[in-house]
């Protein structure tokens, strides 16, 4: 099956060029393009891309450390930077790969193929869905009916961290309600009664 690419880039010259290169290669299909970062979350839901190719210049510089939240709808989808101006290496580390404007077509294809390969290795492992030890600790406290603040104090972590653990627990188990999580903890013998 063709891999679906979402392209976020303002220059139509670049958009046309990349689309052509990817279409010449039978494995890829540019399923959608966007010229701004706005409403990207909605676009992802519709386009369901396997990979997102984005010009980092379109990310608001002040939000560069939190821009990934826009991709929350599909956190596993790899992000590849498409750069033709200078960017700090530190900032480019947020991406799974970097494509330079002078890269040969074959090199672009190779980079994208490699990223997709790595990401499919990752998603097929169930490790991603097993609860970590810390998540288990949080789950046990949750099942006892403790609040985020109480859990944070007991485990010596911040409330923010507790919330992150909770989100991961919900994502991994698919169970959203506190009562449901208590049943889960019970069935896995994490709690007594």
């Amino acid at each position: 099956m063709k891999k679906r690419v979402l392209l976020i880039e303002r220059s139509s010259i670049i958009v046309e060029g990349i689309t052509k290169i990817l279409h010449n290669h039978t494995n890829f299909d540019v399923v959608a393009t966007a010229d701004t970062f706005d409403r990207i979350a909605e676009r992802i839901v519709v386009a369901k891309p396997d990979l997102i190719l984005i010009n980092p210049a379109l990310v608001d510089f002040s939000k560069r450390n939190s821009f990934k939240s826009a991709f929350q709808g599909s956190p596993q989808t790899p992000l590849v930077a498409l750069v033709y101006t200078y960017f700090d290496q530190q900032w480019l580390k947020h991406f799974d790969a970097v494509i330079e404007i002078n890269d040969e077509p074959q090199k672009i294809i190779d980079k994208i193929t490699e990223v997709l390969q790595n990401s499919s290795d990752k998603t097929e492992s169930s490790d991603l869905y097993e609860l970590s030890d810390r998540e288990r600790d949080v789950l046990i406290e949750l099942s006892k009916g403790q609040t985020n603040k109480e859990i944070a104090e007991k485990l010596h972590i911040s409330v923010h961290t507790v919330i992150t653990h909770r989100k991961n627990i919900v994502r991994k188990t698919g169970i959203k309600s506190a009562a449901g999580l208590a049943v889960y903890a019970m069935l896995n013998n994490l709690i007594e009664s």
């Binding site: 188990t173 698919g174 169970i175 959203k176 309600s177 009562a179 449901g180 208590a182 049943v183 889960y184 019970m186 069935l187 896995n188 007594e192 009664s193």
Partner: protein
């Protein structure tokens, strides 16, 4: 079109017949004939059929304007009766048998979970039947209905789907595999079916009931 053909085309519609009090055994009668016989607006009947048949079906404003909506509240109430008096007790029976086969503490937790879910659903439906629906009936009669507004309903329309999803996950993924496999298969199937029915029910409330009541509210203010 014959009603029987409509149902054969989408068997889920068997469920909605009962909510219109249409009895099975309708022979070769067409949809229009049946609607006339039972005093149902044909457009309204088809609207509900469409919502149940086409994913994300949304009627246009013109379609809504050409539809007699006075059956909407009785339809929703009949759905509530079906969920509360038939489906949920049915799921509960299944679940209780499964809980009996679990370790006592685990069985107890399962039962408690379902009991809470049932309580939530009852509360949700009661709120609609005691507060929202009487308000709508009053509006239809031309009342100004100042004590309430449908916006409040939009804000309070609580989510009763989460727990059912949780129950699916628990039965499907986390209950030990050797506990009553046949019974569980049936239960999981029934939960999926109820979930999908309830989702459509919410869709009718949010995309048809609320816009309809908003139009009524505007009309009555202008009067």
């Amino acid at each position: 079109m014959k009603l029987a053909d409509v149902v054969v085309a989408n068997y889920n519609l068997v469920l909605i017949l009962q909510r219109f009090n249409i009895e099975l055994g309708f022979g070769e009668k067409t949809v229009a004939e049946i609607c006339k016989q039972y005093g149902i607006d044909t457009n309204f009947f088809l609207l509900i059929c469409n919502v149940y048949t086409t994913a994300n079906y949304l009627p246009t404003k013109e379609e809504l304007a050409n539809t007699q909506m006075d059956m909407l509240v009785p339809y929703l109430v009949a759905s509530h009766v079906y969920y509360l008096q038939e489906r949920i007790p049915h799921l509960e029976n299944h679940l209780n048998r499964i809980a009996d086969a679990c370790k006592p503490t685990q069985g107890e937790t399962l039962r408690k979970f379902f009991h809470e879910y049932k309580g939530e659903v009852e509360k949700h439906f009661q709120y609609e039947e005691n507060t929202v629906f009487p308000y709508i009936t009053d509006l239809c009669k031309g009342g100004k209905g100042q004590r309430y507004s449908i916006n409040q309903f939009e804000e309070n329309h609580s989510n009763i789907e989460d727990k059912l999803g949780d129950l699916t996950n628990i039965i499907l993924k986390y209950l030990p595999g050797d506990i009553m496999p046949n019974e569980r298969r049936g239960l999981v199937f029934d939960i999926f079916q109820l979930s999908s029915d309830l989702n459509t029910h919410s869709l009718i409330e949010e995309k048809i009931l609320i816009p309809y009541v908003e139009t009524l509210e505007e009309k009555n203010v202008r009067r």
